[in-house]
Symmetry: C2
Subunit: 208 residues, 2 copies
């Protein structure tokens, strides 16, 4: 952001994003129109769509940053860790360093509030899940390269990621609807669920 022009663009984008998130978390996603956002920032509606492909993109912009951050964490995991363990450590580390990634754009608190909005708004949840598919494909690629296997012939990378992704999405959902809506609670849930995957799979749950 050298030139004045670039700085202005940056400021417009951040104003749009911050305003959008603020409105989404207070009036709800569907209760907020793009016109509302544009008007609050004092730009035309058309300008909003020049910065964001759609309402969804603005709503999920923070998440996109954290996903990128998580992918980076996976890439940097030591090679001696087994795939699932590497993923596990990467998520936990991701939560720990969440603030470093977000703070420049918005307070963590706003991110957390958006989480609930996403989870409780059908249209947003749908968009979120669709993105997860792409994220999982990216993670699978990282794992495959890491372990030196070929994704096209070996299903294990995608399989491991599918399982991991399933558990993580469940974790998010339970967390966002639970009472303890803190990062610590999220960490605890993650650890707990990942621990119980094994037992949940092959055994019978009955205690007769």
């Amino acid at each position: 952001m050298e030139t004045l022009r670039e700085r202005k663009k940056q400021r417009t984008r951040e104003a749009l994003l911050r305003t959008a998130l603020e409105l989404f978390t207070t009036q709800g996603y569907e209760g907020t129109t793009v016109d509302d956002i544009a008007e609050a920032v004092d730009v035309s509606q058309r300008t909003f769509f020049r910065y964001f492909a759609g309402k969804e993109e603005a709503a999920l912009a923070l998440e996109e940053m954290t996903v990128a951050h998580f992918l980076e964490a996976v890439r940097e995991r030591p090679l001696h860790e087994a795939p699932m363990e590497a993923l596990r450590q990467a998520v936990l580390e991701g939560w720990d360093t969440l603030n470093d990634v977000i703070e420049a754009v918005a307070p963590v608190e706003l991110y957390l509030r958006m989480y609930k909005v996403v989870e409780s708004t059908p249209a947003l949840l749908a968009a979120h899940l669709r993105r997860s598919v792409e994220t999982e494909e990216a993670i699978a690629r990282i794992l495959a390269e890491r372990e030196g296997v070929d994704m096209d012939t070996d299903p294990r990378p995608r399989l491991a990621v599918a399982v991991f992704g399933g558990v993580m999405r469940l974790t998010e959902r339970q967390w966002s609807t639970g009472e303890d809506f803190s990062l610590d609670a999220m960490r605890a849930l993650t650890v707990s669920y990942l621990e119980q995957v094994g037992p949940a799979l092959s055994e019978s749950w009955r205690t007769h």
Copy 2:
């Protein structure tokens, strides 16, 4: 469907659905407008929205039928089967008896073609995934009751379903993009992936 009125409604709905699916599979989902469908059936656009909550609902109507069918299959699995095994058998059985559920509305071949449309259309894939969340919640409830555990305190039902769902979605995706687009191929993929979940999880994949 006793009265003439009810028969007419039934016919209108089926005409709309069949026409919609036909257009979706030939011109694509986004290349088809609701007006196109309504016009082809010779009803007003408003009438379309009286039968379907939206374009999505029409596109996913067949799938909804098969999901209901699958849930029924899960409910009827013998109690001696472990949870994951019951789910596995239910899916396989679901595929076997797919035709019985679909044929009254549309040929299986149309259902299969729609599968590719869903998987390759972002908006539809998103809607599909969102529905999967609800489906998984329903399955978890069935499993919990079956095994006599309380979902609110025991995470295993949701956990098992999350894992299973993750694997099944991967299966669908790989199947829909693969070359062998037959039900047999689907069955084979399902069995194969479920077999490899265990190995993919805890071990290292390297063969040094």
